[in-house]
């Protein structure tokens, strides 16, 4: 199969959908001839024109609200925020408007929009351009939350997000943009709420999101050399969460490590750990659940400090061994 990058897969998913559906358009800062902060929309204005690849003023609240209003009246907007940190500026529109409109209007009206935004650290962009704030939005009923980890997944999940009649927060990881994978040329959809077992194993389950999926897989390779069999589950979407796949895996392996890049305190890993603690899988647990996440500090600038902030492969290996009392 053809190999393309994660970034190209995002662009292809949007371009194919825009060719098929006139109601789909993109709005965001510098997405026109500049091609977007990370180059995702590069070349798209040439094909679709400035009406549908709509460059906006630097007004995150205004453009988020405009996307909500356009969605409510029949368009299917894709809003690109340059950095996921900027969702803080658009928060009222996403949390108080987009997420609530359908419910507070008693089921009338719908808001079919996708907010796409790059998240994560590792680029040296420091405290205000490196965060992973997905737990904030996952907390809000009415928003769906997607965190694709591969080129294949990002294309299929974005198609599902664009087809969804609800607001979807779609996190693209900056460090994954250049990663390559086998991606079908035709359109396909990966349902929101379906986890993917990225590697099968029998001794320990690692539930990992976004870039941590890759680090968990690397850790699993290393651990295999020591005779430890690790299963890696990628939830792919936090809302809805495929609890069934995670429960099944933990029931099989009896051990759970949850890894994400976002700050551990109040992070989504706590939700996954509690979900397991409340489930039938609890009876199968042979060790306490381990959670790995970002440190309780802003993301530092210094590259070594920045690495220390988020879980790395050795941290994951260590955590797995701890659950096996082999540390």
């Amino acid at each position: 199969m053809r190999e393309i990058t994660y970034l190209e897969a995002v662009r292809e998913a949007m371009s194919q959908e825009m060719r098929a559906n006139e109601d789909v358009f993109i709005l965001g800062e510098d997405i026109g001839v500049y091609g977007g902060a990370f180059g995702v929309t590069r070349g798209m204005i040439e094909e679709f024109g400035p009406e549908r690849i709509r460059n906006t003023p630097i007004s995150e609240s205004g453009i988020a609200g405009a996307a909500v209003g356009a969605a409510l009246t029949g368009m299917r907007p894709i809003l690109e925020l340059q950095f996921s940190d900027f969702i803080t500026i658009a928060m009222d529109q996403m949390v108080n408007q987009a997420a609530k409109i359908r419910y507070m209007y008693g089921g009338k009206g719908k808001v079919p929009m996708v907010l796409r935004t790059p998240s994560g650290s590792g680029t040296g962009a420091a405290a205000q351009h490196s965060q992973s704030l997905e737990a904030w939005v996952a907390h809000i009923p009415g928003l769906k939350v997607v965190q694709p980890s591969t080129a294949h997944d990002v294309k299929g999940l974005l198609k599902a997000a664009m087809d969804d009649d609800n607001p979807v927060i779609f996190y693209e990881h900056k460090l994954l943009y250049k990663t390559k994978g086998d991606v079908p040329e035709e359109q396909y959809s990966i349902p929101l709420g379906k986890a993917d077992v990225k590697r099968e194993g029998t001794d320990v389950t690692i539930v990992a999101t976004a870039i941590m999926v890759h680090r968990a897989l690397e850790a699993a390779e290393e651990l295999e050399k020591e005779g430890i069999s690790v299963e890696v589950v990628d939830p792919r979407t936090l809302v809805p969460l495929d609890t069934e796949t995670i429960i099944q895996s933990v029931s099989k392996t009896s051990r759970l490590v949850v890894v994400h890049e976002a700050v551990k305190r109040g992070g989504y890993g706590a939700e996954i750990a509690s979900m397991i603690a409340e489930s039938e899988a609890f009876d199968y647990l042979d060790a306490p659940i381990k959670r790995l996440g970002g440190a309780s500090s802003p993301i530092p600038y210094n590259p070594e400090l920045e690495k220390m902030h988020v879980p790395q492969v050795p941290d994951i290996i260590q955590a797995v061994k701890e659950t096996l009392n082999k540390a």
Binding site: T73, V111, G142
Partner: protein, 326 residues
């Protein structure tokens, strides 16, 4: 109508209807006020008594396809955009027969099919939504306008400035209607806004800003007519500032210590309903007797709305988790 200059669409019959509509708004608000005082409705509410002319005047020219976004003080806008008082009252009573099945309450009444994109509990929250609705009209080449109601207080929110600029640079068919009722909760507009007229803020975004007497329905109709023409001719947005006054306090518990009774009485003299009545009588469009009959009809409709609301079933636990996602 020799002395009366109004757009062709505003016939004598329409003016008579508008007179009754203003009473419907007033009685709806008065009834809600009484129910809150008696504890028959819970939560909170924000009443627009005294501001009937801007809601009725602006919406008088709108068709079903045209859209509005409203505010926490939005009952009048809803009625003016065609909502029926019975389903509105049922919503305030928390019944499943209400516009939002009892899930929205006073601050979230919407009727998307009738072009009412919803009231909003966030000050300034609806302004970007209105711009989005206008963007749809522009992109789909639909010939509707979107009217965005907000108060004086909202013009100090970032969302106002972001949204007005966005609508201006994209030349969108939206009409921003600032109902300057002189107070954002307790904050006097004189203390919170440096410019004399909020309409002058339009200059910063390169769009026309118009000051209107918000208690004069005829003036509201005429300034809206011009704004609609601009929007439909592709000339972009207009900011209308309707100078008005809210007779009641901000919400249900307000001792109104921030203003004087004299000031309130001065504004009561400018009662928009009384002014329209006198005008219609002097223009021989109706008689005192007809006016009185219309007032009574309005009161009866609101009393019927209360009866409808009281009969409606309460939601059950089964309703709690529905409508979260489409």
């Amino acid at each position: 109508m020799n002395h009366l200059k109004v757009p062709e669409k505003i016939t004598e019959n329409k003016l008579v209807e508008l007179y009754k509509q203003m009473w419907l708004i007033r009685y709806f608000e008065e009834k809600v006020d009484q129910f809150f005082a008696k504890g028959k409705i819970h939560g909170t509410t924000h009443l627009a008594v005294g501001q009937e002319a801007s809601a009725a005047g602006v919406c008088a020219l709108l068709d079903k396809e045209d859209k509005i976004t409203s505010t926490h003080r939005g009952h009048g806008h809803c009625i003016a955009k065609g909502a029926t008082p019975d389903k509105m009252m049922a919503e305030l009573f928390g019944r499943t027969t209400g516009y939002c099945k009892g899930k929205g309450g006073s601050m979230h009444i919407a009727d998307v099919e009738m072009g009412n994109l919803g009231a909003n509990g966030i000050v300034g929250g609806g302004i970007p939504l209105a711009v989005g609705s206008a963007l749809t009209a522009s992109m789909k080449k639909l010939n509707y306008v979107t009217v965005c109601f907000f108060g004086d207080g909202a013009t100090n929110e970032g969302s106002f400035h972001e949204a007005v600029n966005l609508a201006a640079v994209w030349n969108l068919p939206v009409i921003f209607v600032c109902e300057n009722n002189q107070y954002g909760m307790s904050g006097s507009v004189k203390e919170m806004v440096k410019v004399e007229d909020i309409a002058t803020r339009a200059k910063a975004y390169g769009i026309p800003g118009v000051v209107a007497d918000g208690n004069d329905i005829i003036e509201m109709i005429n300034v809206t007519d011009e704004a609609i023409a601009r929007a439909k001719n592709g000339e972009g947005p207009t900011l209308i500032e309707a100078k008005t006054y809210r007779w009641k306090g901000h919400s249900k518990s307000d001792a109104k210590k921030y203003r004087t009774r004299d000031e309130e009485n001065e504004w009561r003299e400018k009662d928009p309903i009384k002014r329209l009545k006198e005008l219609l009588i002097s223009e021989s469009i109706f008689t005192e007797e007809k006016a009185e009959a219309l007032r009574k009809e309005a009161l009866k409709e609101i009393e019927d709305a209360v009866a409808f609301a009281e009969e409606g079933p309460m939601p059950t636990k089964d309703d709690l988790l529905t409508d979260v996602f489409a």
